[in-house]
Amino acid sequence: MVTQMVRSKREGDLARVEHARDRRTYLPNVDILETPEEFLILADMPGVKPDSIEIEYEQGVLTIHGQADPRQDEAATNYLLREYGVGDFHRSFTIGQGIDDAKIEAHYSDGVMELHLPKAEKAKPRRITVKGD
């Protein structure tokens, strides 16, 4: 799995934020887990509208995108402390073969996206029994 460098939401790193379509975009922090049946991706995407989340799997590349609109009028707000910025979340993962893309499932709750990527039958571990004489 290949992922891009993590771009921090913290203010000091704002210069490294992408400005695509005039919207700030951040890389979400993710956990990637594996069980015998599936890969599980947990992505921190706070403030995202659940119905704006887009998940694409095409030619081995999984892309997640969530839209987070500004929560204050930034120009008019009198900030005393600004430690993070608000913007969309976007991240891509290169996944080799072994995923049953028809069965990919996603849930979003408490600002965390949970993405289940079931393994294709042939990629599941198989127990090989050795026959004795």
Partner: protein
Amino acid sequence: MFRNRMSTWSPFDELHREINQILESFNPVTNGGRMAGWLGTFPAVNIWEDGDALYAEAEIPGVRSEDLEMYAVGNELTIKGQRTARQGENLTYHRQERGAGEFTRIVTLPVEVDAEKVEANLCNGVLTITMPKAAAARARKITVKKA
């Protein structure tokens, strides 16, 4: 299969983490509060104000309201909570960027707030706290009397 899974570990990451944890333990603002795997203070906080109130916002995805405690006393706001890492048999982590564990963040506010009237809202992992300023700290319009 995920490729290059071995490349996520580097001895320098480990060292970097150790050094940050030591530095962080001396940080008077957070009282050393941190989450495992998280470099620096958690959560990051934005604070803004208007004439009547201070507002604080923090992104705490994966923290449920029952795992969250907040105190506003005088001019100090404390946010405490915890987030648990996914655990289970047959579960292997290939990458762990999301911090887990307990955290405490103490923020000193520029003015005193009315602790009785503080309200908090947690929605989609975003915590918003509204803290009306104490009467003495509110902006008052002063009319000039004509002689």
